[in-house]
Subunit: 131 residues, 2 copies
DNA sequence: CTCAATTAAGACCAAATAGGTCTACTATTT
DNA sequence: AAATAGTAGACCTATTTGGTCTTAATTGAG
């Protein structure tokens, strides 16, 4: 439906929340869950995915938690979506491998896809939080 | 996954095919199915949806079929996607009704969404077919 | 060194969506 | 009337997504 998934949406909400606070502060899943009102197991899953995607840094063990891996101004919406959902591609045609069918419409999709990625890359976490 | 559905993809293929031929020619579902290699019931479904969305004109009865409702240069990708999938909205936040949660990230999504719609509106069926 | 807190990995199930097919009906031409 | 096409919508299946749970592995504190 040309829409980001709920998990990605949660990711943005969590990241915006973290960006609005002291960058060095470690946030654990439990506190974030309480602060935002999303169930703990789900929050935990999202944080894990964001960490694997390099958006967050994690610190295991007691007193552990998560923090942004980079300044909020350097984390783009494109990056976040890719971390959670994989490469952005409006159609299979427009994926980085190109269209294996070599169909007529393929070049046009590439163009649209580039525009979409451009829009998403121009938007940083800092822009989105600024609370 | 930020992707159009298969049905929408079929729609583009069918429309591009039709745009590449005499505009007045009526195409019936059976011939289109044979020409493109998509099963008849599926082609039939897609054509029906495109007609309801005002992209195609239909003519019932024997010797009936479908034709473009407008010149290919006036049919945009945005229109086609909306006809099949409903309004384009990256998130619920960015739908035309606005974000009922009134969250921080909402204005940013509006912005991205506008950019995406812009890209899709700048691309016509004529651009995509031109075979 | 042990315990408690916390993330890591991934299995797992349920719900939602999408894909595709089918049947019955209506309209039009011959 | 008969044949051809579109119309409407039900229907089932497969895939994806959402969410939870269990079992590790890691680290700080006493």
């Amino acid at each position: 439906m040309l829409r980001i998934t709920k998990i990605t949406d949660y990711g943005f909400i969590l990241l915006a929340h973290m960006a609005n606070q002291d960058k060095e502060l470690l946030h654990n899943a439990k506190d974030l869950s309480a602060a935002i009102g999303i169930p703990l197991p789900t929050v935990s899953k999202v944080l894990k995915i964001l960490t694997q995607g390099g958006i967050l840094q994690s610190h295991q063990g007691s007193k552990g938690g998560y923090s942004l891996a980079k300044p909020a101004g350097e984390i783009t919406a494109a990056e976040i979506i890719e971390a959670v959902e994989g490469p952005v591609a409006i159609t299979d045609c427009s994926s980085s491998e190109g269209c294996e069918r070599n169909c007529v419409v393929s070049p046009s999709w590439q163009q649209v896809n580039t525009a979409v990625i451009g829009a998403l890359s121009g938007l940083t976490l800092a822009d989105m939080s600024n609370g």
